[in-house]
Symmetry: C2
Subunit: 336 residues, 2 copies
Amino acid sequence: MKNVTLKDVAKAAGVSYATVSRALSGSHQIGSDTRERIIKLCDEMGYTTNYVARSMVTKRTGLIGLVVPSIDNQFMSELAYYAEMSARGHGYNIMLCNSGPDLKQEKTVVKLLLSRQVDGILIVPQSPRTYENIRAYTDQVPTVFLSENLRDQPQSYVAVDNSRGTYIGARYLYELGHRDILYFGRRHTTTHQLRAEGYIRACQELNLRPRFFNSEFSRSSINTGYQLAQELFSRPIDYTAIFASTDSNALGVLKAADNAGIDIPGRLSLIGFDNISSTALPRIDLTTIEQPKREMAVQAVDMLRDKIENGTQGYVHQILMPVLIKRGTCRDLLNH
Amino acid sequence: MKNVTLKDVAKAAGVSYATVSRALSGSHQIGSDTRERIIKLCDEMGYTTNYVARSMVTKRTGLIGLVVPSIDNQFMSELAYYAEMSARGHGYNIMLCNSGPDLKQEKTVVKLLLSRQVDGILIVPQSPRTYENIRAYTDQVPTVFLSENLRDQPQSYVAVDNSRGTYIGARYLYELGHRDILYFGRRHTTTHQLRAEGYIRACQELNLRPRFFNSEFSRSSINTGYQLAQELFSRPIDYTAIFASTDSNALGVLKAADNAGIDIPGRLSLIGFDNISSTALPRIDLTTIEQPKREMAVQAVDMLRDKIENGTQGYVHQILMPVLIKRGTCRDLLNH
DNA sequence: AAAAAAATCGGAAACGTTTGCGATTTTCTA
DNA sequence: TAGAAAATCGCAAACGTTTCCGATTTTTTT
């Protein structure tokens, strides 16, 4: 049960424990013969370096705090997967925290992460107020925001070009012959404002009338989308396509449409945003706009590493390209 | 940038830093007046205790290593969510590691976690060989296995009663009038052997002939299920229901059936296992057997805490009850 | 071959806590 | 009120590393 320490192998090797440390760290200040002897001995004795002790003196833990609203969410768990893989590839480990729905908990976990002496924090914000909420801590440790646009805030983040995503989605619907496209979902975070703007811009270029059906729900889940869509379908349907602000919302729309006997894509076309893995499921097969989750995660940890290892100051806004994923929920009105 | 330390607030308060430490830790060996004064001062100066320094002396990090094959997997991300929530509620933080598909990486991350001085490890094994693979380390740190049965191994784990799960599922199909039930999927991990056994047991009680269509794929994904199901549907269908060993496999069956024009549940009933969140989606609506993920995660961290905090030796096999989730993919052959 | 340079290694401080022990002061008991 | 008990606090060691600095040895240079 007792771990073998540097001192133990030093005693066994008949050298000082400084020498053992140097042997392991690949320092030049050591003879190659003694180095090999020590390394072999460490192996035999099962020595592994104690990261906690090392952190004490190096002032670096090699820990990255990852805070997400909730990891049981396809979008975030995919991000987490790639982030962890990439981080570990560079010698970092991930400390995972769910920030939940309320700001207080988000602030608490960030503070906790600071106590843990993480080298940096990767955070996908739970609300547009997150920036203000944790601003007191973001100058104490390198931080990068993930997936949420901060627009003009002096804070590094990586996100897709949300505006362009809805723009190309709307144009795609237009090419299929749709002239009445309803935008469905949230509008009150920066990300969703941008998505709405892209839709509006496309409409203007194409001479379409932008139409909205909004939700003030703070979280976009399939259930909130479902409820809102039920309300929507109680009114006359004078549009041929719905652009849902989120795949979750789109799934809610799909459910409500099925319940109401509205055929998708026969009667109504549907397009989502995010490309969460559920959209590729059989019978769902949702056309959507992909956020390049892998690239986002990798870029985010690269950005964070740059801040940590090079002490890079300032902030950078990294905008990634969305891509249209054509599947089965959009009907071609022109060529049958 | 420089963190404020115990020494700093001690100097400001005019006491020794041992006193400050005692004030924060709620020790009895301190006057209530000075304690309050110090606590207030700590607050003003923005002091937060340095966990790595504390860990040095207490020999406890308050860290739990969570290793999962991959976090971007609904089942595991749900487990991770509840595990993190529960752990943090008890003062622990989660260090997340993806073990990937191969044993080497799994061993590597476990070793890494030991170097990190985690207090315990929670692991959902990637293969039946995991137990052997990491056995050298499991006696160096409290460990509990999650979701996989180890049967007779001297190692703590929590899992559902897999055998009972398929048993009640098969009986349910029988009650609906099904007499020819095909068991579809994997059989070569302990968990899946148990599931197959439950199915067989139900068949014997009900005088049914057990029938299998197996896969030797090591991972059960929707895609492997799809490919196997395509092969299955190229043969005559002389059964009325399919029991898929996994929700993922069931989803693959669903996809293949849709492609082949086989109506589910009209022509064929389908039941899965796990109750991953995708099964509740519109148009999917898969009947399945639920693994109580929340309870599993909570029990697992409780078990781990007991080992860590009380030094409990020995091992315990915690078996949880599965529950049948009736949805829309099983047709009632009797009434109606 | 002597001096200079390089290589190799040990000593010791430092990182920021917790905690046992002893010293001092305060409070209580008889 | 004197002595004992309790409360309060400081000192210093310890946790396991890394790394600066100096000492010693070996190698190179002239």
